[in-house]
Symmetry: D3
Subunit: 127 residues, 6 copies
Amino acid sequence: MYSVTVRDHLMVAHSFRGAVFGPAQRLHGATFVVDATFRRRELDADNIVLDIGLATRELGGLVAELNYRNLDEEPDFAGVNTTTEFLARVVADRLVERIDARARGLDSVAVTLHESHVAWASYEREL
Amino acid sequence: MYSVTVRDHLMVAHSFRGAVFGPAQRLHGATFVVDATFRRRELDADNIVLDIGLATRELGGLVAELNYRNLDEEPDFAGVNTTTEFLARVVADRLVERIDARARGLDSVAVTLHESHVAWASYEREL
Amino acid sequence: MYSVTVRDHLMVAHSFRGAVFGPAQRLHGATFVVDATFRRRELDADNIVLDIGLATRELGGLVAELNYRNLDEEPDFAGVNTTTEFLARVVADRLVERIDARARGLDSVAVTLHESHVAWASYEREL
Amino acid sequence: MYSVTVRDHLMVAHSFRGAVFGPAQRLHGATFVVDATFRRRELDADNIVLDIGLATRELGGLVAELNYRNLDEEPDFAGVNTTTEFLARVVADRLVERIDARARGLDSVAVTLHESHVAWASYEREL
Amino acid sequence: MYSVTVRDHLMVAHSFRGAVFGPAQRLHGATFVVDATFRRRELDADNIVLDIGLATRELGGLVAELNYRNLDEEPDFAGVNTTTEFLARVVADRLVERIDARARGLDSVAVTLHESHVAWASYEREL
Amino acid sequence: MYSVTVRDHLMVAHSFRGAVFGPAQRLHGATFVVDATFRRRELDADNIVLDIGLATRELGGLVAELNYRNLDEEPDFAGVNTTTEFLARVVADRLVERIDARARGLDSVAVTLHESHVAWASYEREL
C-alpha cells in the first residue's frame, strides 16, 4: 500500500459542552496542524498516489473555509462538540468529496489534527 | 476508525544482555518520549474517543512509576532485556489496565517510544 | 553563556483590531507552544542554570492562568492586540517576576511562542 | 504487533515527466528523510524486533547507494518518474532483500520518505 | 528584543566544486526548509514586529524564484558554491530588499536553511 | 554572522547529588540529542563555515567517547553533577579542541543538548 501526506493548519475558537471537558468548556481556541493522508494500492501511470501539488491546494482550500473562525457560531457545527477527533472526520469527509477521491482510485483517506506538541487525533475511512 | 494520542516522557537507566547489543550491554540510559494512542470505531456521546485530559493524567501517572529509575533493579523486569519495543508493550498493557480500556469501548491501544530523533519502536494490541 | 529551556502550551481564543490582520480580525484561536529560556553566565553550585523541575512547574502555573480563555475578555488585555510577539513578552515578564529571576542570578529570559508549524515569535529581555 | 523504526536521509537531483508535475518537470532536487519500519508479531529471544544498530547500518548502506546522485542518470531508474512514493517502494524492496527480512521473521516493512516539513509518502509491504 | 519567524521550503539541484565536498561534488539536490526571522527592538502600533501574513507571502514569493531549479544553471550563482550557509545569506539579502526591511523599522533579519533533520545553516545581518 | 549546525545523540546513565534534583538523585538515564553550532563572521574560500561532513564526523567521534556509559563512573566526571547544561559545555569544549576551532577561523561554538521534547540546555563560548 502506498500513501501520500500533506500538511497545513487552521486556527479556530470553540468551546465544549459536558463536564468531561473541565476548563475547556470555556471559550478558548486551538491551532490544528492538519495532516491529510491519501492511500492507494497501486501507483497511477505517472507513478503517483495523487499529485502533491493538487493535494496541497485542495487541503489549503478546505482549511480556508474553516480558518480564523469561532466554530461555535458555524451553522454546520450547531450543537456539536467540535473535538479534535470530530474535526479530523470533518476534514476527511470534505476532502473525499472535494477531490472526488473514489474516482481517483484512492483506497482510503486519513486525517490527523495535532492540537499541540503533546496531543493529536485522527480519523481514517475506507473508500 | 478514530484515534487520540497523548505524549509524555520518561528517563531511565538500563543495560542489555546479549552480543547483539554491542556497547549497549554496558549500563547506559535513555529518554523515552512516549506516545499513547487510543482507537475507537465510533465516538461517544461527547464526540470523543477518550478525554485527552484523562488520557494525559493516566499516562503521566503510569510514566511516574517508571521514571528516574534503573530498570535493571526493578523487580518487574528482573532478567529481562528492557528494549524499546518491550517497554512499548509494558506501557500499552499497563495503560489498558489503568484506564479500563475495554469498559470504555476502546478498540485498540498503541504505544510508541522514541529513544532518539532517529529511532523509535511501537506495540499495538487489539482489545 | 549557559541556558536552559522548558516547553509547555496554552490554548486560547482572541481577535485582532486593525486592517493589517485581515481575516484574523474575526474571533479565532490558537495553540501556543511556549518555550521559556533562562540564561546565566555561570552555573551555580549544583551545576545548573535553574532547576528544570522548578522551571517546568513555574511555567506550568503561569500557563494555567492564561489557558482555556478568550483573551478578548481578560481585563489584563483590554484594548490590546494579543499578538504572538506581545504574548511572548507577557509570558517572559510574568516568569521573571514569578521565579524572582534576578535574585536567582539569571542574566536574561527569553520566550518563544509557536502559533503553528510555520510561524513563531519571541521576546528576550536582559535582567 | 511490534515495530522498530530507524531514520536516515539522502540528497538527490531528479526531474519528472508529465504535465501533472508542473514546475517539478524541471531538474530540481530533494532531501528525503527516510524512516524504515520493521514489524513483527512477536519479539525474538533477545526481546527485539530487529537490532536497531543493524537496522541503522543497513539503512545507511542502502542510502549511500542512492545519495548525492542525479536519479535521472541512474540506469535503475531510466524512463521512470522517481516520485517520493515510488522511491519509498525502492527503499523498502531493497531493505527487504538487504536484511533478508523474511528469514529474520519480520512480518512487514514500511518506508516513509519526507520530502519537506509539509509532504511525505510511504510504502508498506507484507512479507 | 522581539522577533517573528515564518517557515517555507524550496527544492533544488546543485553541485559543489572543491575536494572538501567529497561526493557532494556530483550533481545532487536538497530540500531546504527556510526559516526567516525578523527582529525589532519595539513593537509597532498594531503590537507586531511584522505582519505574519505579509512575511509568509513575501517569503513564499522569494522561494518561488528559486524553487524547482538547478542552481548550477542560474546566472546569479555562476561559478559559486551554493552551500547552505551561502544560500541562507542569499535569502536574507533578498528578503531585506523585498520587504524594505529598514523602512519597516526592523533591526535585523536572520535566515536558517535546514538541509536535513541533522544539518542546518544560518545567516544573520543587522540593518 | 554565519553558522552551521549538525545533530547527533548519546544515551547515558547518571545520577545527581543535591536535594534540588528530587527523584533525579536516583540512578536514571537520558538520551541527549546534541546540536553543535559553529559560527564564523565570513565564509571561507569554499563558501562554507566548516565542512558539514567533517563537523558530522567529529561530533560523531566525540559522542562515541561518551555514549552507552554510566557517567557516574567516568573519571572525568568524578564528583560532578553531569547536568544537561554542564554536558553542553563538555561537548563544546571538546569540540573546540578536537577540530582546532580557532585555527579554522571560527568565532564561536555553541552546543544544545535536548534531554526530552520539553527540555533542553545550551552552552556557547566565544573563541
